[in-house]
């Protein structure tokens, strides 16, 4: 590790007013968006990414990481105050956070959530700083065979994020991979699915598709829910007096903060596994090792600390595969990968040789994003609660016009706005039929990598795919991919079984 360059990069990030401002703005936006139930950090990053187009790489990454870290913490605000997690990753926070709030300890719960989020984020950033160069060293040996199998490994986690139906998840994934083939073929420039439409020659742009699938579809569904009277308007009148936890509380929660941060980082580093999984693993782990597990789920501060440190620890963990392998760890890092590519930088092992200063600046930006989140949290904790009261009838049209502008601003092309709307409809229909959307996102990112390396490998080996057996790292990736698929299928079956039992019990209760 080049320590002098590392310190220099930290200095250049922490002393750059533009980076400081953008990261702070990102954290404010992230916390505000995260606090709105249904608005995830992914949606926030997707919505605000067009703002980063005119900036240099590091301020724009600072902005996106600010949103990411802020969004992770923001989700806990509505979870604690109104029992509605702002983000899926905050789902476990309400188990102890909401009972604390009901007992008049909203301020304490929010301050613990903020402090734990900050500590978890710092743990994730530190682990990322020291671990990702080691991963990158191994990745330097990669050829097209390893890259192909790495993409396959990345795609294998689709099974884990498919939800109830693995078949539907895989259909979504293959659909996403098919979308990647629209445009000119990268090797021979053959036209594929272009139908004579010139803007399609360069393929479907990632950001309009993303905004359409996640934001526009949600607005259409939201309008539908409002008309059908299914949309609840949340409100909060809580008064918050405490900003940071006292020393006595910190001494009670530090073991949960450290273990949660490490669990979050580890799970975040697995492509496809995000904060929503990490929080439950951390909660379960800390509860199992607690001296008084029966108190968990009532109003215990350790419960809030274990989940919040885990979901922010994920942010650092998810950056490890992004920077060292070029494979995004979750949906947000997939969008951040898009931001790197738009700036002409391809994350991956070669980045540690060609652009080491940029890598170190990203480490520093993540640390700064966590600090910005703490500052924003301290200053705004009293006011953030109010955002849950914003009327959805006003919020949805605002989000729509911002989303459509975002789609336009990438290439300054109305065609992209049309693509965004079209994918909004596709996303809405897919949600109706319960097809998961995340696999499309992962497929859109990994599809081109998969095809290009497949074609290169086959060309180099005269069309003999069996030659891959002579590449042990590639085989290793393949074996891990198969293991991930099998584990995910087994895990999903367990979840389905548990859900069926819960449904049976609920039906029995109703019959009584």
């Amino acid at each position: 590790m080049n320590w002098s360059l590392l310190f220099q990069s930290y200095g250049s990030v922490f002393l750059n007013p533009q980076v400081l401002l953008m990261t702070l703005l990102g954290a404010v936006g992230g916390v505000l968006l995260g606090a709105i139930p249904g608005m995830t950090a992914t949606m926030g990053v997707a919505l605000l990414i067009p703002f980063s187009f005119g900036m240099d790489l590091i301020p724009s990454i600072g902005l996106l990481l600010g949103i990411y870290c802020g969004g992770m913490y923001g989700g806990s605000i509505s979870a604690i105050l109104i029992h509605a997690p702002g983000t899926p990753a905050a789902a476990a926070t309400l188990l102890d956070g909401y009972p604390m709030s009901q007992k008049g300890q909203s301020g304490k719960a929010l301050s613990i959530a903020m402090f734990s989020s900050f500590c978890g984020g710092v743990i994730g950033a530190l682990v990322m700083t020291f671990l990702s160069p080691l991963v990158a060293d191994v990745a330097m040996e990669f050829t097209s065979a390893e890259m192909l199998m790495l993409a396959v490994f990345g795609l294998s986690v689709i099974v884990a994020i498919s939800g109830q139906s693995i078949a539907k998840g895989l259909i979504s994934a293959f659909f996403g991979m098919l979308l990647c083939t629209v445009g000119l073929d990268p090797t021979y420039s053959a036209k594929r699915f272009t139908f004579g439409v010139k803007p399609l020659y360069s393929g479907l742009q990632f950001i309009p598709v993303l905004i359409g699938l996640f934001a526009v579809s949600e607005i259409i569904a939201g309008v539908e829910r409002i008309i059908n009277g299914e949309e609840k308007q949340e409100s909060s009148n809580e008064k918050i007096n405490e900003v940071l936890p006292d020393l006595k509380t910190i001494s009670q929660i530090w073991p949960q903060i450290i273990s949660g941060g490490l669990i979050g980082t580890f799970i975040g580093a697995i492509p496809g596994a995000g904060g929503d999984i990490a929080v439950f693993v951390s909660y379960g782990f800390n509860k199992s090792f607690s001296k008084y597990p029966e108190k968990w789920g009532t109003e215990i501060p350790q419960g809030v600390a274990s989940t919040e440190s885990a979901n922010n620890g994920c942010s650092g963990g998810a950056m490890i595969p992004l920077l060292s392998l070029g494979v995004p760890g979750d949906a947000v890092t997939a969008i951040i990968l898009g931001a790197f590519i738009m700036k002409g930088i391809q994350p991956g092992p070669t980045m540690y040789v060609d652009k080491l200063d940029t890598v170190y600046c990203v480490f520093a930006a993540l640390m700064l994003a966590n600090l910005a989140m703490l500052v924003v949290g301290c200053c705004g904790v009293r006011f953030f609660a109010k955002i849950v009261s914003v009327e959805k009838k006003i919020l949805y049209p605002i989000i729509l016009v911002i989303s459509l502008l975002g789609a336009f601003s990438i290439n300054r092309n109305v065609f992209d706005v049309g693509v965004c709307v079209a994918f909004g409809v596709v996303g809405w229909l897919m949600n109706k039929f319960e097809f998961p959307l995340s696999p499309i996102l992962l497929a859109l990112i990994l599809g081109p990598m998969c095809e290009q390396n497949f074609v290169r490998f086959m060309d180099l080996n005269g069309g003999n795919f069996g030659a891959i057996l002579g590449r042990p790292i590639a085989i290793g990736f393949f074996v891990v991919a198969v293991a991930v698929v099998l584990f995910s299928i087994w895990n999903q079956q367990k979840i389905n079984k548990r859900e069926a039992e819960a449904r049976k019990a609920a039906a029995k209760e109703a019959n009584k």
């Binding site: 067009p50 187009f53 005119g54 900036m55 109830q164 139906s165 078949a167 539907k168 259909i171 293959f174 659909f175 098919l178 083939t181 073929d185 090797t187 021979y188 053959a190 036209k191 594929r192 526009v216 259409i220 309008v223 539908e224 829910r225 008309i227 059908n228 299914e230 009327e391 009838k393 006003i394 949805y396 049209p397 605002i398 729509l400 016009v401 911002i402 459509l404 502008l405 336009f408 601003s409 300054r412 109305v414 706005v417 049309g418 709307v421 909004g424 409809v425 109706k432 039929f433 319960e434 097809f435 095809e451 074609v455 086959m458 060309d459 080996n461 069309g463 859900e499 069926a500 449904r503």
Partner: protein
């Protein structure tokens, strides 16, 4: 519950639509350019994706048929499906109206410009979903697009079409 109202039936319909799409996409790939002596043709990858989609669509189709035949109430596929009835469900009708408005928005984006087109669509949607405070509707639907345009135009130097409101650019430039 009627069979036609279950998730299994919705999955069956979705499978049939998807199969039609996949066959159509596969047929399209047959028309792609053929490169002599290439180990992998430009059509190979999309064809593999089409076949992959077909395999899992058939699996979904079979799962749906089995669920519909067994009619086991514990089966998650026997839960009620989300409504897509455009004749009976007012929510679906509103959703479709938003889609139509978005299509019109795209068509008129250059002519009307971002601010005007956005103000119109935002105001209509607010009215559609039951907002009746005219002052608030006008204020939000005009100010938000205007502010967004200002941020993009002045701070990020992204030139966004202003259509009939183009003279506003000169006004802002003068300030």
């Amino acid at each position: 519950m009627k069979k036609t109202h279950t998730k299994a039936f919705a999955n069956l319909i979705a499978s049939v639509i998807l199969l039609v799409f996949e066959v159509w996409a596969y047929v399209q790939t047959l028309g792609f350019k053929v490169v002599k002596k290439a180990a992998v043709q430009p059509a190979t990858f999309p064809q593999v994706m089409c076949i992959g989609m077909m395999v899992f669509t058939v699996i979904l189709l079979i799962q749906s048929l089995i669920s519909l035949k067994r009619m086991n109430p514990d089966d998650p596929n026997m839960q009620p499906a989300a409504s897509i009835n455009i004749f009976k469900n007012r929510g679906v009708q509103a959703g479709l109206l938003v889609i139509v408005l978005c299509i019109l928005y795209v068509a008129l984006f250059k002519t009307l410009g971002y601010v005007l087109a956005s103000a119109i669509i935002a105001a209509i949607i607010m009215w559609l979903i039951g907002k009746r405070d005219v002052k608030q509707i006008l204020l939000v639907s005009v100010l938000v697009p205007l502010l967004m345009w200002l941020v993009f135009y002045k701070l990020l130097t992204v030139n966004i079409p202003m259509g009939v409101l183009d003279p506003l650019k000169n006004l802002v430039d003068m300030i």
